[in-house]
Amino acid sequence: MTAPTPTTGVTPTVTPASPGGAPPPAQPAAPSRPRAAARLGDRIFSGLSTSAGVLILITLAGVATFLVTESLPVLTASADEIPGDGGFLSYLAPLLFGTVLAAVLALVLATPLAIGIALFISHYAPRRLSRLLGYLTDLLAAIPSVIYGLWGALVLAPYAVPSYQWLERTLGFLPFFSGPVTATGRTILTAGIVLSVMILPIMAAINREVFLQTPALHEEAALALGATRWEMIRMTVIPYGKSGVIGGAMLGLGRALGETIAVLLVLSASGGISFNLIGQANPPTIPSNIAAQFPEATGLDIPLLIATGLVLFTLTFVVNFAARAVVARRAEFDGAAG
């Protein structure tokens, strides 16, 4: 998209006729210096829009600096002032572990399902149905997280307990399912399932978009060579959409890392680092820990929580940045190809 620049040959001759020009431009000098005819209105308007853009720069710089300055007391405080023993890093470790574990669980569960949904909508469902389903997944992506949290805590968690008991009986030799199973079902695995349900619509929507962009010629060529539908998908749709799927998955991961309220409502966090997914002692996550502790926090607790927020910010930043890089490389590749 190339927006016309003000210098593209129209400005010099037409300036006097303009209705909105404030100061009459210097007519004799106009042909040599077309940009000199910038009007007051133009200057105000471009100034306004530029400053709005700069305000965004300042805001983001503000987010970073406020988080850093407000969390500085933690770095200078001695280890025994911080809850637990061993200072900030040992306070952070279980939080970071829980955050990453829940998000990775969500991603592992959601990625294949999102690909399946997207393929179903884009290549299997009847055309009319697929538009309706696409609209429906968009709607589901907009449902607030507190609703997912209520559903996870009150419907999913009690419902999952028998399944967890079954997992412990049959797969109890694995460290993930070693038990003992909690009676409430509010484990890190439940949190991961709720997160996966939450990121499923957005990931499916991204995958669907990518799959639909596969050039029709590629697909038709594959079918014309006698490929079955699955062979056509494997040979044209999947290679074409791979980087889009990866980018979508990383965006979903970023969402899952930062999700607060749903995890807070679902997870009963009390433990430290543990790979037991269905037990009673589950690690907390950074955002849910902030939301749980912040309202009653005093003194050094506040900088401590803000410091964990800074860690979360950095983590999601890196993940999102990597996702953009993957998607951008794909865009470049497309540009080169077509």
Binding site: S46, G116, P144, L257, G258, F317
Partner: protein, 355 residues
């Protein structure tokens, strides 16, 4: 597509294709798989989830075996994948349908006049409503929109119409970064910002509006930018050719042409932040009575109200839980309604293609 006849004429050495399966056969196999799974359920005593998984597995194996014998391995793989993809879709829909159904069935219980006409002031146990929370949500979301729409639209105009060079590139990049800010971090930012001016422990509505704006601005910028880029360059050039200055061209030609898309984008951005809980929990807190002044004291909002009704239900939890579900239902109606409005705007007011 699956009944194409391409394989029938192929030489036997290339594929072992024989007659394709009749269309009713897979359905019959599916019915058989379900019956078998139900029989297994009574024998093994497996739960509904396991039964469904078993049914899908049995169906996949059956289809594969039958199709392999009748049509050859390539067709068999194709049919199996179709079964797997469809099963994945159904499996993914189960929790989402369960969610909608639960919110609807548990939410209608308190979906009454009292819920919309009274606050929780002096209410213990049954009764009470969420008028204060609804008012708070409307005020805070409205303020957030008031802050972020001008900033977002102007930034998008800058990026599309003016932006060149390093500044524009870095703004584009940072808007991308902002899209990924976790909502709790936005809340921490707003808190840290207002603590500088008002001291620790500050809680008021405008802080929540600022936090929501941090989340809303990038969404507005992105969608408005897309819409402005769709405006054909010919429109701008025609306007310049008539001697209209650039700022008037943007105001009178470009923005009206993109108005429907911009309105849609803003509506969707509002729908996105209206359900945010975490930043409001930190910066606004909650209260039991109606507070209409966003510059003074705590305010209740629907998501936070739903959160606390579940988290701190009091001695008699049932009425509080009912209120939480009804708040969730109201919130969902708001969000879905806004999405619907956005669709209608996009459809009704979109510029017509022909002339």
């Amino acid at each position: 597509m699956s009944t194409s006849t391409a394989d029938q004429s192929a030489p036997a050495g290339l594929s072992q294709a024989r007659t394709p399966l009749p269309t009713w056969l897979p359905w019959a196999l599916a019915a058989g798989a379900v019956v078998l799974a139900l029989v297994l359920r009574t024998v093994l005593g497996s739960g509904p989830v396991l039964t469904a998984v078993l049914a899908a597995l049995i169906f996949g194996v059956l289809v594969n075996v039958v199709s392999r014998r009748a049509e050859g391995s390539r067709r068999a793989t194709d049919r199996t994948v179709t079964a797997v993809v469809s099963a994945m879709f159904v499996a993914a829909m189960v929790p989402l349908v369960s969610l909608l159904q639960t919110v609807l069935s548990r939410g209608v219980g308190r979906f009454d006049g009292e819920f919309f006409s009274s606050s929780m002031r002096n209410v213990i146990g049954e009764g009470g409503g969420a008028l204060h929370a609804i008012a708070g949500t409307v005020i805070i979301t409205g303020l957030a929109a008031l802050i972020s729409v001008p900033i977002g639209v102007l930034t998008a105009i800058y990026l599309v119409e003016y932006g060149r060079g390093r500044l524009a590139r870095s703004i584009t990049f940072l808007v991308d970064v902002m899209t990924g800010i976790p909502s709790i971090v936005a809340g921490l930012f707003a808190y840290a910002l207002f603590v500088v001016f008002f001291g620790p422990g500050v809680r008021f509505g405008i802080g929540g509006a600022v936090a929501l704006s941090v989340l809303m601005v990038p969404v507005v910028v992105r969608s408005v930018e897309e819409m402005l880029k769709l405006v054909p360059a010919e429109l701008r050039e025609a306007s310049y050719a008539l001697g209209v200055p650039k700022w008037r061209t943007i105001l009178k030609v470009v923005l009206p042409a993109a108005a429907a898309g911009i309105a849609t984008g803003i509506t969707l951005a509002v729908a996105r932040v209206i359900g945010e809980t975490a930043p409001l929990l930190l910066v606004v807190g909650t209260t039991t009575s109606l507070n209409l002044n966003p510059f003074e004291g705590r305010m209740a909002t629907l998501p936070v109200f739903a959160f606390f009704s579940y988290r701190v239900p009091g001695a008699n939890p049932e009425p509080s839980l009912d209120r939480a579900w009804t708040a969730a239902l109201v919130l969902m109606i708001l969000v879905l309604g806004l999405n619907l409005v956005a669709r209608i705007i996009a459809k009704r007011f979109a510029p017509k293609g022909g002339r």
